[in-house]
């Protein structure tokens, strides 16, 4: 049951609109209920071939020898694809926004870094024939020591998972193995707090489990182009990733998608499109590459695991005075999107509360497991779990009702957030009040009268003095370059400014540069100021 509380914030809204606010039927509903909505796999192409990959049976191993000679002779096999056949066999997804280093091959060449990593792709007349050929590929593995725990991976002497990041951690700003957040003096505030509570939280990986598995069908089109039917959640992300990996102009491809059987973040990684297109290029025939369910569950990227330590200082009256957080994102064997999740997570600290002293270190760590990716709640889900369990414990500790405790500490309009931007358009207090009302959870009058629009700002708008970190800056690998940090670490930098306001909805559209060839997003906005 859903109720619209039009009485709240009514003065900020124009409710006299004609189409907005109506429960209009979905445009795609008729297609869904008649089964005529067209997903990537609903395209029947003449003479279609099937692609399957040989996956590593080891979590970490050197590949001594890959023998495909028997598989080449197997019935129905049209083409065996090896790493050497992939034009640019090293990529990182966010190279499109110039963030991070290329660290992941499409097909492993000399080493595998997680169980299930693709090594060889087989294109055959039928799925059965592809499976039969897979059984005939012989791979000589030299097993290497593995590491699966994020904190173990950061210890000296831990096995190196991904040589691009030899310390098993993504490098931020060419300087640190973590993203920092510093606001006020958390240690000093902890020393004066009435209570200090330090806790550890953990979230295991989570699989997106869309009912439609990842997949793509690629086919030679007229005039030298390729048409690609895809389950991607990000069409141009896929187009440009394929253009890079296959080293052709992006307008070589005509991608068609848009109707996808669930994604939740699991269809951003562009895993099937490059190999399907390469298969079509090498055979001249339509090629389908679709994940089986076990592949989707075990070797399709999950929401990565996280481990979080929170140390809070709280006063007897319920005010939180300091929050110190250390978080580890388990990226698996390659970067994919976890590096970005860690920055988003740092920005999210300390949750929707105004806390005068906040300290955060967020790590993106490499381990020998399936690379992680984005999922619904990206970078935030586990942190919210940790923060909100912690909030419940703190309320318990000071003997306060948890709803009232949230309202007491909630951020309000005009408050300064830990990432040094003013809080605006906040509504946490009202959500707590309404949820309490719906659940018949009694809260006291003064908390019922609180408002996100009152009592914020003022002293709460100040940026507190923040001591410089006493820790020595770790040495950084020289070759690291990211969007975030183009200046040498020694140069005094201007703090980032509040960006110009976003394009207002009313503004006339700017003419857009034509997208052609190997244009990268980075060439559009990758430069810093």
């Amino acid at each position: 049951m859903l109720e619209l509380r039009k009485d709240i914030f009514a003065d900020e809204r124009d409710d006299n609109l004609k189409e907005i606010g109506k429960g209009t039927q979905r445009q795609d509903m008729l297609g869904h209920i008649t089964g005529t909505s067209s997903y990537f796999n609903d395209h029947k192409l003449q003479g279609m071939l099937h692609l399957k990959v040989v996956r590593s049976t080891h979590a970490h191993a050197r590949l001594r020898r890959i023998d495909t000679s028997e598989a080449e002779r197997s019935a129905g096999v049209r083409r065996i694809i090896r790493g050497a056949d992939v034009p640019v066999n090293l990529n990182t997804l966010l190279s499109l926004i110039n963030f991070g280093k290329d660290d992941e091959p499409s097909l492993a060449v000399d080493k595998v870094r997680y169980k299930g990593e693709p090594i060889v792709a087989i294109v055959a007349d039928s799925e059965r024939e592809a499976f039969e050929a897979i059984a005939k590929v012989k791979i000589d593995y030299e097993p290497l020591p593995t590491v699966f725990d994020v904190e173990d991976a950061l210890k000296p002497g831990a096995p190196v998972v991904n040589e691009t990041y030899p310390k098993n951690a993504f490098i931020y700003h060419e300087a640190y193995d973590h993203q920092r957040l510093r606001f006020g003096d958390a240690d000093a505030a902890l020393a004066t707090a009435d209570h200090v509570l330090e806790q550890r939280y953990q979230m295991s990986p989570i699989e997106h489990a869309p009912t439609e598995t990842n997949g793509a069908i690629a086919a030679p089109d007229t005039n030298g182009r390729y048409v690609v039917y895809t389950s991607t959640q990000a069409l141009f992300f896929s187009v440009d990733t394929c253009a890079k990996i296959l080293d052709v102009p992006s307008n070589t491809f005509h991608f068609i998608g848009g109707t996808v059987g669930g994604g939740f973040g699991g269809k951003v990684d562009t895993l099937t499109e490059p190999l399907a297109i390469l298969g079509a290029m090498l055979t001249g025939r339509p090629v389908r590459y679709v994940f089986g369910r076990e592949e989707e569950m075990q070797y399709g990227p999950p929401r990565g695991a996280e481990r979080i330590y929170i140390k809070d200082g709280v006063m007897r009256d319920g005010r939180i005075v300091a929050r110190k957080i250390r978080a580890y994102f388990d990226s698996g064997a390659y970067t994919r999107l976890s590096s970005y999740a860690a920055v988003k997570c740092a920005a999210h600290l300390p949750g929707p509360y105004t806390i005068p002293n906040v300290y955060g270190d967020v790590y993106c760590v490499f381990t020998n497991r399936t690379p992680a990716t984005a999922m619904r709640g990206f970078g935030v889900t586990a942190m919210d779990f940790a923060i909100e369990c912690q909030m419940d414990k703190l309320a318990n500790l000071v003997g306060m009702d948890p709803m009232e405790f949230r309202i007491l500490n909630a951020y309000r309009d005009g408050d300064m957030k830990a990432h040094r931007r003013e809080a605006k358009n906040t509504a946490l207090i009202e959500c707590v009040q309404v949820a309490a009302e719906k659940a018949k959870w009694p809260i006291r009058d003064e908390f019922r009268r609180a408002s996100s629009r009152k009592d914020g700002g003022g002293s709460r708008a100040a940026i507190p003095p923040t001591p410089a970190d006493s820790r020595a800056r770790p040495a950084a690998p020289a070759q690291q370059r990211t969007t975030y940090d183009r200046l040498p670490a020694s140069v005094t930098r201007e703090p980032p400014r509040e960006p110009p306001p976003p394009t207002p909805p009313a503004a006339p559209p700017r003419p857009s540069a034509p997208s052609h060839g190997a244009t990268r997003f980075s060439s559009v906005f990758g430069r810093r100021r």
């Binding site: 399957k52 019935a75 039928s126 799925e127 059965r128 024939e129 592809a130 499976f131 039969e132 897979i134 059984a135 089986g292 076990e294």
Partner: protein
């Protein structure tokens, strides 16, 4: 090479084809063999079927009940005479799986599947198999223990004696997902009562060992006693004896050992 499908009119011929070809698998309801083919199991190159109507026969008229190996769970649920088997039959799959899955196939289903076989084990069923050397009857306990070696044999039917009363046979599948999920553990208890005392108790457990097993210590705790709280408690505390559960995606060995007694107690005392 595509798979070869061989369909025979008689189960004799099917059994012969099965025993003569190591790459052959018998296709019952499809829930095991078709899945294996879909997932690329290239060890199967021949699929054997039999159109023999005897395989789909149900004989439930007398005290001894015989179910053809090809009888589906949906058919069991449609037979009022088989009410004692409705709970285990209903615990399997969703409606589509029950329309397909068979009694014979369930005997081969590995953990976390094979719930119906737990019920049959508690009921001391007999499995009729057609081997290369003709047909023979095997006690289900022996069949399950030697299941790895049975893949070349064709199961013809399963038979058991009908419990004397509805109360004498109880079944519980513990799953995380409702209404249908994989078994964390499965319990079945046959407790014939004679003169107010249990005579011939059989407790069977699923997911408490590599195959379905009997909880013989719990059976001993029940044997010859009235089904009262003290007896139930004794059986519950003995039920882990001789079990060797494993960790899997649905639960750990530790957890299975912890809860099997709780669920046996609840099952025997009629609690939800």
């Amino acid at each position: 090479m595509p798979v070869t499908v061989k369909t025979f009119a008689s189960s004799n011929e099917a059994a012969a084809a099965l025993s003569s070809d190591r790459t052959a698998r018998y296709l019952g309801g499809g829930t095991l063999v078709m899945r294996a083919l879909n997932e690329g199991d290239v060890s199967i190159s021949t699929v054997v079927r039999a159109s023999d109507q005897a395989l789909a026969r149900i004989d439930a008229s007398g005290p001894r009940v015989t179910l053809g190996a090809g009888v589906t769970f949906a058919r069991i649920l449609s037979e009022r005479e088989l009410a004692f088997l409705h709970a285990p039959a209903r615990s399997i799959g969703g409606p589509a799986v029950r329309n397909m899955g068979t009694v014979g196939g369930n005997l081969f289903a590995p953990n976390p599947y094979g719930d119906f076989a737990v019920a049959l084990l508690a009921l001391d069923a007999t499995v009729a198999v057609q081997g290369g050397f003709g047909s023979r009857d095997i006690a289900i306990e022996e069949f399950l223990q030697s299941r790895e070696r049975q893949s070349g044999t064709l199961v013809l039917s399963v038979s058991c004696t009908r419990p004397a009363s509805a109360d004498a046979f109880r079944y519980r599948k513990v799953a995380r997902i409702k209404p249908k999920g994989g078994s964390v553990i499965t319990l079945a208890a046959h407790l014939p009562i004679s003169g107010g005392r249990i005579a011939g108790a059989r407790i069977a457990l699923g997911s408490m060992a590599p195959t379905q097993i009997r909880a013989k210590a719990a059976e001993r705790a029940l044997e010859g006693r009235a089904l009262d709280a003290a007896t139930i408690a004794a059986a519950a505390s003995a039920v882990t004896e001789g079990t060797s559960p494993s960790d899997n995606a649905l639960g750990s060995a530790w957890y299975r050992r912890e809860i099997v007694g709780v669920h046996l107690r609840r099952l025997l005392s009629g609690q939800e």
